[in-house]
Amino acid sequence: MSRFLLPLGIFLVIATFLAVGLGLNPREIPSPLIDRPAPVFRLPDLHAADRVVDVAELKGRVWLLNVWGTWCPNCHLEHPVLMRLASQLPDASGGIVGLNWKDNSAEARRLLMRTGNPYRQVAVDQAGHAAIDWGVYGAPETFVVDASGTVRYKFIGPLSDAIVAEEIMPLVSRLMAPVQG
């Protein structure tokens, strides 16, 4: 009898792993950048071609980087979440910096005009070099950088309200506490 139970046993082991696997998120890829200095970039501003967005100026403040493009359907999905996130971020923070990745600038401006702009500043990364420095796999991706300029968090894929409420906002409050106090 026992050898005939073997297939059932193997199946139960596999099923257990599948059950555990359901609770995991394969998209949560650890970034080699976590706890490392955030790569700096100086890129043209989406809204004024003669100005630049320089993230080195954000030192001393907690800020978020969001990689997006009008060509990316998941970014459209994420947009309302970003709008809500932007309204929750304290004024003392650096807000959300958008990295408009390999996109058509005119269309990007039109989209933000039409649907609202969650970003304090938007940098134009036409060539995608900054995205390479940041190790971006695909859009959207979101990073949290602390006051010392260290990357503390990375999320791949569209943000949800749950991720914002459970992970991003608590982290931002924690990181901002010593600055305020």
Partner: protein, 656 residues
């Protein structure tokens, strides 16, 4: 706004009710010997099929008339979408593909009802009931977690369009083919479970389920080949197999199904490997279900990246547990009673089939391990890993090479006992010829790498030994007319393995690819061909705009092809898509994909490929599928079926 979506939804609920009747009453009837309950299996199944067809027709109609009040239609269609893709859009996302799955399952059930008249009524009722149980699970899944008829309010003016990747004829027919194969294994599964329930595991069981298994396997083979062909021309990477979890999900049931059709041959002809064959039938369908779980639950990441939802994952996992766990429990309870008859010597047809089954099972386990490994490591908290082609290629080739080596010999061996001398002596010259042919072929590419020669020699050896087997059979049995169709089927499929192996060996070793930046009017030379870039212009389709390049290929001074690779942007979803241009040929493909513009003067980056013998990979798969059809059409299944009916009547008479 019509009521059709509500009609469809209601039809699904009725189908669920009928599926419950179809599964519960016949099982009770079979256990308690209640004739009326047994007899209800066919009519109940017939009604279930009818209701599912109605539901499916309703959703299709909503797509055709672009009824955006249905959320699923609004998310996956658009008024500008061509009619063909509005029809195939039904299975363009999760809810609709599940509905297609349910439709195909009920069509298989209908086919079993129609073509199982020769099977004893109680056995047939059990088979239909088991298929009904599977239907219950999937209908519940549809209705509880993935209702395709959900309404949307306010009604959007326009839909979000079908995923551009799916707007392609190859991918439009790929999922139905694949599903017909996947779901077809449910018939073999139902026969196995019914036989376990009834305790009747004789050769007759194998004879009944073999043609069903063959047909399912044929569809799965064609479905996988279509998927591979689609990935080749649509993804723009020039590869034909990526060992992606979603691909593996279809490959595992195929490997198990291949093992099953071989072990069914042994069980049918010699009454051996009975318990093992039952187990394989359970495995083949379980792996189909596991594939569904992997694709639909999002536990693994994949280039196919389907939308995922954890509650759906939990549901499929529970369902998987009930179906697979339940049938394996039944197996553990009943299988110890199965007695296989007759021994055999290792050098015999049985020995060959055993070898085939051991290797194919190991291959299946290898793919399963590689597919689930990232999940297991993640679940144990050991980190995130991905297992890619390096693992699969290095493990898979040593397992399948011996299979190819023995294939021709095993197919020629006699049942029970044969001698190595009789089998091998006439083959030595063929072996030599295969190696010589391989060296000659490799030399024609001016490249004598040993991997290439070994691979080609293996393919030629499979072809030659199978050809010799055909000659021996025809010569030894008094002419062509006496050779059964099943033998032609087996031989054709085995020739397909040879063609497939030659294709892989040549493509993987002698392909050339280069990324080049070209100004309009300039040329690049690769693999003996000259590619001239003639610039890029604008183009447009019904729902996209595109930049189309022109590349003219020359062999020497002779123009061989004008190709138009495109970069498309679909208007609604805005994702850029690469449409590679391919000049296909039996002996080589030229393949050009458009990259990015390099400057304002019309220079573009291009990716050029030269792929020798790549068509042989899919040609081999088609040979295998055609062989399967020939075998399934063999006259003996009809003849045997009627003999079994007589046998059953005699037994019944003796029992009375």
């Amino acid at each position: 706004m019509t009521l059709l979506p509500e009609v469809g939804h209601f039809a699904l609920i009725l189908a669920l009710c009928m599926a419950l009747v179809q599964s519960i009453l016949p099982l009770v009837g079979a256990a308690r010997h209640i004739g009326n309950f047994v007899a209800i299996a066919r009519p109940a199944a017939g009604l279930q099929v009818l209701f599912v067809v109605i539901a499916y027709a309703c959703l299709t109609q909503s797509f055709i008339v672009s009824d955006f009040s249905v959320a699923y239609v609004a998310q996956n269609s658009n008024v500008d979408l061509p009619l063909m893709y509005r029809i195939s859009g039904v299975w363009g996302a999760h809810e609709g593909s599940l509905l297609l799955w349910v439709l195909i399952l009920s069509l298989w059930t209908g086919a079993v009802c129609l073509f199982s008249r020769s099977v004893p009524p109680v056995m047939a009722a059990r088979v239909i009931a088991v298929m009904g149980l599977v239907s219950v699970g999937f209908l519940l899944f549809l209705l509880l977690t993935s209702n395709p008829f959900e309404r949307l309010f306010p009604i959007p003016l326009s839909g979000r369009d079908l995923n551009p990747l799916l707007q392609d004829p190859g991918l439009a027919i790929h999922p139905p083919m694949l599903y017909v194969g996947y779901v077809g294994f449910s018939v073999a599964f139902a026969f196995a479970v019914a036989a376990l329930m009834g305790g009747r595991l004789d050769s007759a069981w194998a004879r009944w389920s073999r043609p069903w298994t063959l047909v399912a396997w044929v569809f799965l083979t064609v479905g996988i080949a279509l998927g591979s062909w689609w990935a080749y021309y649509e993804l723009g990477w020039g590869g034909w197999w990526f060992w992606d979890p979603v691909e593996n999900a279809s490959f595992m049931p195929w490997l198990a199904g291949t093992a099953l059709i071989h072990s069914l041959a042994a069980t049918e002809n010699r009454g051996i490997f009975k318990a093992w064959t039952v187990l394989l039938a359970v495995f083949a369908f379980s792996l189909s279900l596991l594939g569904t779980f992997l694709v639909r639950s999002g536990v693994l990441t994949s280039v196919h990246a389907f939308a995922t939802d954890p509650t759906r994952g939990v549901f499929i996992l529970v369902f998987l547990g009930v179906v697979v766990g339940g049938s394996l429990l039944l197996y553990a309870w009943r299988a110890p009673r199965i007695r296989s008859l007759g021994g055999f010597s290792l050098v015999s047809r049985e020995g060959g089939l055993l070898f085939n089954n051991v290797l194919l099972s190991v291959a299946t386990a290898t793919v399963l391990l590689g597919t689930l490994y990232p999940l297991v490591i993640d679940a144990l908290g050991l980190g995130k890993v991905s297992v890619g082609p390096p693992y699969f290629n290095s493990v898979f080739i040593p397992i399948t090479a011996p299979l190819a080596l023995v294939l021709g010999i095993g197919a020629m061996a006699r049942w029970r006992k044969d001698s190595l001398a009789r089998l091998l002596t006439p083959l030595r010259w063929l072996a030599l010829a295969a190696v010589a042919g391989a060296v000659a072929l490799a030399a024609s590419f001016y490249d004598l790498r040993w991997e290439a020669i070994a691979g080609i020699a293996l393919g030629l050896w499979v072809t030659a030994s199978t050809g010799f087997g055909i000659w021996r059979r025809v010569a030894g049995h008094g002419g062509l007319a006496r050779v059964p169709l099943a033998f032609w089927g087996m031989s054709t499929a085995h020739l397909g393995v040879g063609v497939f192996a030659v294709g892989i060996a040549l493509t993987s070793t002698f392909s050339a690819e280069e990324d080049v930046g070209l100004d309009p009017g300039t040329s690049h030379q690769m693999a003996g061909y000259t590619f001239r870039f003639d610039g890029v212009r604008d183009a447009s389709g019904p729902n996209y705009t595109a930049r189309a390049g022109t590349v003219t290929a020359f062999l020497g001074d002779r123009q061989v092809a004008v190709m138009h690779p495109q970069k498309r942007v679909y208007r609604v979803q805005r994702n850029p898509m690469t449409e590679a241009a391919i000049d296909a040929g039996l002996f080589r493909d030229l393949y050009v994909a458009l990259g990015d513009p390099l400057n304002d003067k019309g220079s573009w980056s291009l990716r050029l490929y030269y792929k020798p013998f790549v068509r042989w990979i899919w040609l081999g798969a088609l040979f295998m599928a055609f062989g399967g059809i020939l075998s399934a059409c063999d006259r003996r299944y009809r003849r045997v079926a009627s003999r079994v009916r007589q046998g059953a009547q005699t037994t019944a008479a003796a029992g009375a």
